[in-house]
C-alpha cells in the first residue's frame, strides 16, 4: 500500500533521512521505532508531504505521491496524527473534528463519521462544545486521532500517540488503534514505547540516524537481543 524507497530528506544542509526504504501492506499495523532524533517524525512528514523529500520515491497504491500537496495526500486516504497532538486549541472539539473532514463534501457522511468518532471516544461527545486547548492531554490525543479519522483514511499515520499519557489511557488508545485496524484501516505507528508498539504491530522497522537498521515480524524483533538491549532496556 505504502512504499518508501531510497528516501532522503534534509532540513537545510542537515541530512536527516539517509536512504530509508520501508513498506506497509494493506491491513497491517507497522511500527517504526528508534531513538530520539532518528528521523521517525521526519519520515511521517515526508509521507504526508508536509516536508518534501530530497531524493527517493514514495508510492501509495503504486502511485507516486512525493510531489503531491499535503491536502491531496489527505484526499488520497492518508491521514496523520502529528507528534504532540497539535489540535486547534481555540476551536471546540466538534469544530476540530469538522476540520478533519475539510477535504470531504457529503454532510451526511461526515455526520455519520462524527458519530463513529464519538462512539470510539465517548468523552469527546461529552466535551463537544469545550475548546480543544482546555482538554487534558489524553483527551487531546483522542481528539487528534478523531480528527484524523474524520478524513476517513485508508492509511493512518500515528506519531507517538502514547507520549506523556498515563498507562491506562495508553492502553485505551492502543486498543482503539487495534480496533481501527480490525475495521480495515492500515496503520503506520511511530513509538518511543517500543515494547507496547511491538506487541501491537504485525511488523516493525528500526530507524537509527536516518537509516533502517532492522526490520521484520514484530514478534521476532521482541526477542531480538539487539532490540531488547537498545529499545526495550532488557538484557
Amino acid at each position: 500500500m505504502l512504499d518508501l524507497s531510497g528516501v532522503h530528506s534534509a532540513y537545510g544542509p542537515i541530512e536527516v533521512l539517509k536512504d530509508v526504504t520501508l513498506a506497509v501492506r494493506e491491513g497491517e499495523i507497522v511500527a517504526l521505532i528508534g531513538a530520539n532524533g532518528a528521523g521517525k517524525t521526519t519520515t511521517l512528514m515526508a509521507v504526508s508531504a508536509i516536508h518534501k523529500i530530497k531524493a527517493g520515491e514514495i508510492l501509495f497504491n503504486g502511485r507516486s505521491i512525493a510531489d503531491a500537496a499535503p491536502h491531496e495526500i489527505v484526499r488520497l486516504g492518508i491521514s496523520q496524527v502529528p507528534e504532540g497532538r497539535r489540535i486547534f486549541p481555540r476551536m471546540s472539539v466538534e469544530e476540530n473534528l469538522e476540520m478533519g473532514a475539510y477535504a470531504r463534501n457529503s454532510d451526511l457522511e461526515i455526520r455519520k463519521d462524527l458519530e463513529h468518532v464519538f462512539q470510539l471516544f465517548p468523552i469527546l461527545k461529552e466535551r463537544r462544545r469545550q475548546l480543544g486547548g482546555t482538554l487534558s492531554g489524553g483527551e487531546q490525543q483522542m481528539l487528534a486521532i478523531g480528527r484524523a479519522l474524520m478524513a476517513r483514511p485508508k492509511l493512518l499515520l500515528l506519531d507517538e500517540p502514547s507520549l506523556g499519557l498515563a498507562p491506562k489511557i495508553v492502553s485505551q488508545i492502543f486498543s482503539v488503534i487495534k480496533n481501527l485496524n480490525a475495521e480495515g484501516v492500515t496503520i503506520l505507528l511511530v513509538e518511543q514505547n517500543a515494547f507496547a508498539a511491538l506487541k501491537l504491530a504485525h511488523r516493525a522497522y528500526v530507524l537509527e540516524t536516518g537509516r533502517v537498521v532492522l526490520s521484520g515480524e514484530a514478534a521476532g524483533l521482541l526477542t531480538n537481543p539487539q532490540v531488547r538491549k537498545s529499545y526495550l532496556g532488557i538484557n
Binding site: 504526508s48 508536509i50 500537496a69 499535503p70 491536502h71 489527505v74 484526499r75 491521514s79 496523520q80 496524527v81 502529528p82 497539535r86 489540535i87 486547534f88 486549541p89 481555540r90 476551536m91 469544530e95 469538522e98 476540520m99 478533519g100 475539510y102 477535504a103 475548546l131 486547548g133 482546555t134 480528527r147 484524523a148 478524513a151
Partner: protein, 402 residues
C-alpha cells in the same frame, strides 16, 4: 502613586526635550504630572455621579434591550442615510464621513489577512495605491467610467496581492511582515519614479465618469452636482453614499466569508499551520486567497478614494497609512467585523477631533495613537469589540500568566 507620576513626567519631559523643545516638553510633563490629580477628580465625580448614572444607564439598556437588534441596525442605517442629506452643504462633515468609510473598507480588507488568517502583513497601503492609481490612469487616459474602473482597480490590486502572497507561502511571522513591508515600499517607489505613467511626485489627477446610480457630478449642463435629481452643493455626497453602500455590502460579505469554508480554513491556518496541513486544509490556496481578497478590498477603497479626491499624491500611500490601518484592526479587535469598523471610526475621528477641539495637540496625534495602543494592550488586549474566539484566546493566555 503620585510620586511615580511625577518621576514619569520628569523622565518624559527630559526624553522629549531635545525633540520637542523646552516649551512643549514642559507642557507634556505638566500634563502627565497632572494625571493623578485628574484621576482623583474623576473618581470623586464618578462616586458622586454613580447613583444617577446607574439609573440612566439601566434605563438606556432597558430601552435598547426592548428594541430588537434588527431594528437597531436598520435605525443606524436610516440615520447614516438621512443625516448627510441635512448636512449636504457641509463639505467638511461629509468629507470626514466619506474618508472614514473609506478607511473602514481598508480596515475590513486588512482584517481578512491579519485577523482571519493570522498572516502578518505590513505595507497594506500599497494595494490601496494600486487601486487608486489604476483608476486614475484608466479614467484619465482611457475615459473608463467609474464602474469599469472599480472592477479594474480591484482586479489590479488582486493581481498584485496574489503575487505578494507567493513569497508568503514559504515565510512565517516576522519574516512575512518584513517582506510585505518591502514590497509595499517598492510599489510606492515605482509610483514615485515612473513619471510617464503615474505623474511621479507631481501627483496624478483622476476623472471619474459615472454611469447613472443617481450620481451626477458637476457639469456645465446641469450646473451643481445632483444626487437622484436633488441638487447638492457638495459633490462628495455622492461618494458618501457610494462608500456607505460599499461598506454595508462589505460587512455582509465579511460575515459570510468568516462563516464559510474558506473562513474556517483561515482560522485553522492561524491556529496551527502544520496541523491545518495534516487535517487536509489546502494551505497554499488559503493563504493566496486571503492575500488576494484582502487586496481586492484595498483596491476598491483606493478606487473610491481616487474618484472622490480627483488627485493622487504618492506620499499619501506611505508606511504611516499602513500602520494606521493596522492600528485600526488591532484597536478594534482582530478578526471581529464590528470591532474593525469601530476601530477605523475611532482612529479616523481622533485627528479630526484634535484639529477642531484641541488644535494645539494636533501635532501629538501619533503620540496619542501610541498612548492609546499602550493603554489598550494593558486593559483590553483583545480590542474594543473583540471576536469571541480571540477573546477566549487572550483570556487563556492571561490565565496562564497569572
Amino acid at each position: 502613586m503620585s510620586r511615580r507620576f511625577f518621576l514619569t513626567a520628569a523622565w518624559l519631559g527630559a526624553l522629549t526635550w531635545p525633540v520637542l523643545g523646552t516649551a512643549a516638553a514642559l507642557k507634556l510633563a505638566l500634563v502627565v504630572s497632572l494625571i493623578p490629580a485628574a484621576l482623583g477628580c474623576w473618581n470623586a465625580l464618578r462616586r458622586a455621579a454613580v447613583v444617577p448614572c446607574r439609573g440612566l444607564w439601566a434605563a438606556l439598556e432597558a430601552a435598547s434591550g426592548r428594541i430588537p437588534p434588527r431594528f437597531q441596525i436598520w435605525g443606524l442605517a436610516a440615520f447614516l442615510c438621512v443625516a448627510p442629506l441635512f448636512l449636504r452643504h457641509q463639505t467638511k462633515y461629509i468629507n470626514l464621513a466619506t474618508d472614514t468609510l473609506i478607511m473602514v473598507l481598508l480596515a475590513l480588507g486588512l482584517n481578512i489577512v491579519l485577523g482571519m488568517a493570522g498572516l502578518f502583513m505590513l505595507g497594506y497601503a500599497a494595494f490601496y495605491a494600486i487601486g487608486a492609481y489604476a483608476f486614475a490612469i484608466l479614467s484619465l487616459k482611457f475615459q473608463v467610467p467609474f464602474w469599469g474602473g472599480l472592477v479594474a482597480g480591484a482586479a489590479a490590486a488582486a493581481l498584485v496581492g496574489f503575487v505578494v502572497g507567493l513569497p508568503s507561502l514559504r515565510l512565517r511571522g516576522d519574516y512575512l511582515a518584513i517582506v510585505t513591508l518591502g514590497l509595499g515600499e517598492t510599489i510606492r517607489y515605482i509610483i514615485k519614479n515612473e513619471e510617464w505613467l503615474t505623474g511621479g511626485t507631481f501627483g496624478c489627477p483622476s476623472r471619474p465618469v459615472f454611469i447613472s446610480f443617481g450620481l451626477e457630478p458637476y457639469s456645465r449642463k446641469i450646473g451643481s452636482p445632483r444626487f437622484f435629481g436633488w441638487p447638492a452643493a457638495v459633490e462628495s455626497i455622492h461618494y458618501y453614499f457610494l462608500a456607505l453602500a460599499m461598506v454595508a455590502l462589505s460587512v455582509v460579505a465579511m460575515q459570510r466569508l468568516s462563516n464559510s469554508r474558506i473562513g474556517r480554513a483561515w482560522v485553522a491556518l492561524r491556529e496551527d499551520e502544520t496541523a491545518a496541513q495534516a487535517a487536509g486544509v489546502p494551505t497554499v490556496w488559503a493563504k493566496l486567497s486571503a492575500f488576494t481578497l484582502s487586496a481586492v478590498w484595498a483596491g476598491m477603497a483606493g478606487v473610491l478614494y481616487a474618484a472622490k479626491q480627483k488627485f493622487l499624491a504618492p506620499e499619501i500611500f506611505d508606511f504611516n497609512l499602513s500602520a494606521l490601518v493596522l492600528s485600526m484592526v488591532v484597536l478594534g479587535g482582530m478578526g471581529s467585523i464590528p470591532g474593525v469598523v469601530l476601530g477605523a471610526v475611532v482612529l479616523q475621528m481622533i485627528p479630526w477631533f484634535l484639529r477642531d477641539f484641541f488644535p494645539e495637540f494636533q501635532n501629538y496625534r501619533l503620540l496619542i495613537y501610541g498612548g492609546l495602543m499602550v493603554l489598550m494592550m494593558i486593559w483590553r488586549p483583545q480590542g474594543l469589540w473583540p471576536n469571541t474566539r480571540r477573546k477566549i484566546e487572550l483570556q487563556e493566555e492571561t490565565d496562564a500568566v497569572a
